[in-house]
Symmetry: C2
Subunit: 167 residues, 2 copies
């Protein structure tokens, strides 16, 4: 591992763990710059950051940052925070960002169950395809029922104070 600088947070980029995170999220299907932007939010030493700061830190154009912020806001991973004394818009990671990310996979699970159901009505009900589709449907139905409850239990273990709001 060649580390060009001893500083954990190099001036022109993300800390190493941040790049790792971005890489992992990218391989999971997230766009590269969006993943890096999210990592920048996570590792920032401030409560909130501006688009300009992000662009400078990540070495990306204003356009990229704008698109990334729009996307992250749409899926509920970051939020705008009031900043009366500044002209620029300030954003921060939502405290429940990771739970939100997990919940979004829940939509995928529902879709899988629907696809299995749809497929079942198009194949002979006593063939091998039907058997596979029933197994698939049952599994995702189970997950669809259990996962939200699991996340709910997580919320229950968290202190319900200040900034822990649910989507």
């Amino acid at each position: 591992m060649a580390t060009p600088s001893d500083s954990p947070q190099a001036a022109t980029g993300l800390p190493e763990a941040g790049e790792h995170l971005a890489l992992a999220l990218t391989q999971a299907g997230m766009q590269r710059m969006i993943a890096r932007t999210l990592a920048a939010f996570l590792f920032s030493d401030r409560e909130s950051v501006t688009a300009g700061e992000l662009g400078r830190q990540l070495g990306a154009s204003a356009g990229s940052i704008s698109g990334a912020i729009t996307m992250l806001r749409t899926v509920g991973l970051i939020e705008q925070v009031p900043a009366p004394s500044s002209r620029r818009d300030h954003y921060r990671m939502r405290p429940d960002a990771w739970a939100t990310l997990m919940t979004s996979k829940n939509a995928m699970i529902g879709l899988m169950r629907e696809i299995a159901d749809a497929g079942l009505s198009t194949v002979p009900s006593d063939g091998p395809a039907a058997a596979r589709l029933r197994r698939m449907r049952d599994f995702y139905a189970y997950m669809l029922a259990e996962l939200p409850a699991l996340i709910e239990r997580w919320y229950a273990t968290q202190p319900p104070d200040d900034q822990a709001q649910r989507p």
Copy 2:
């Protein structure tokens, strides 16, 4: 919805639900042809299929199919089934493919927890970044502990007979 053919399984492709599934998996980060191949396995009316059949059905080159089969086998979604009377290799979806797919997300969860831990040792432990990282670490630690148990409970509800083997 324009359905070019009444037949649920057009001669030159996947049933509609199959293409939906492939699209969903693709948007979730899976390669296009791998997703289509998996869908072909799911919707096949046979117990097992060969690479040649898949290539003909999907209109893809032998090279693509070979790569897709290698990948799907590596991650444990399909398996080779003995076919003594045939020269070609026969494959089928593993019965626990969907649970395996979910479990693979478990590895991702473990990685996220590790990244949070690694990040924690590089930021001031009383700053905002540390607070965010601790929250992230705790969430993924929770998920890492609970998700395998959830899937285990799924296996327990399944009839343990014939072809239900765990990875």
